[in-house]
Symmetry: C2
Subunit: 204 residues, 2 copies
């Protein structure tokens, strides 16, 4: 029998990460103090540094956790029968995350931090690459199935599909009163018009 319970340790670690994510979303990385995190998590400074070696380690933990979730989504999508429908669903799901409070702000914060911290930039880059790979697979299958314009190069197009999700985040950050369902509809229209075959085989 061990004196430490790994599950309990993981749960507490997660609770700290969640509390910290709220702080970082509200105030950004630098202006969030470790005292803020401790207050939000209901622990002391000593405890915080027992679980994490530094403030930055708490920040990066948010995004390693998130990467796993997105990977699951893409795996599920890869198994779908209709690759184009699966792609549109994944985009809607990811873009829909901005409805959660704090998500937009922490994504903006991550982008800014990645611009000046090489190690964190690599993490963000890996996450983005995984997303693009997953989207490219769906686009490739959609081309093969004749569902989309064969002229679109899957890898490059995947970058722009990801970019459109970022565009939604950007819009949301600039317009707090954004009508999310309406914007989702436009996003879907842009994607469909971008990807659909230019001259359908049946001539129309």
């Amino acid at each position: 029998m061990r004196t430490v319970d790994p599950a309990k340790h993981a749960a507490k670690r997660r609770a700290i990460v969640d509390a910290a994510a709220g702080c970082f979303a509200e105030k950004g990385f630098e202006r969030t103090t470790t005292a803020d995190i401790c207050r939000a998590a209901g622990i002391s400074s000593g405890s915080l540094f027992h679980y994490f070696p530094s403030k930055r380690a708490v920040f990066t933990a948010i995004f390693t956790d998130d990467a796993a979730e997105t990977a699951e989504r893409l795996e599920a999508a890869a198994k779908a029968d209709d690759p184009l429908a699966a792609l549109l669903d994944v985009v809607a799901e990811l873009a829909g995350q901005i409805a959660q409070p704090g998500v937009v702000r922490i994504v903006l914060e991550a982008a800014a931090q990645a611009a000046r911290d090489d190690e964190f930039a690599q993490l963000v880059h890996r996450n983005d690459s995984a997303l693009r790979d997953g989207l490219a697979v769906l686009l490739g299958r959609a081309v093969d199935a004749g569902l989309i314009d064969p002229g679109v190069e899957p890898r490059a197009a995947a970058g722009w599909v990801a970019g459109l999700i970022d565009a939604m985040i950007s819009r949301a950050s600039l317009d707090p009163g954004l009508d999310l369902p309406a914007e989702q509809a436009i996003l879907r229209t842009i994607l469909i018009r971008f990807l659909r075959p230019v001259s359908p085989p049946s001539g129309g």
Copy 2:
């Protein structure tokens, strides 16, 4: 005769802003110290605070200056004969700015700062609104001229045109080796396919 030369004062102020912009792009707002700015501008702390009341005032000055430039661009575009061509040109120009070193980073920094500073957020919001207004005018004229799908609502579409520029910025930040001309071409394709009339009058 006055002892101060307003032109000289403005020039020095501008030099400080330019030097500071480089610092902010490299390290972000919080991690840039006033000492960094002084070193970059070749002045002392005392001088810096003679020209600006605070570090934040230096930061905001960057974006009030930029707003004027974009307004000029939109004014020129409004006078063009072909509103759709003018729109595509403006987008290409704005998206092309990311080729300048530091532009991507300072835009990301601005987005992050706007998320946590209400006063600065209002400035960013005003700039974005002016851009969207200008784009919406061009889109409205393009609809009237039968150049684009009358089903696209100018104001909402303008938001997505601006969003696509942000998408380019996002892509550039994630992929430093981005092939800018190639991406510009895809951006143009997405816009044209999004906007073009669904069923051309001449039936094809």
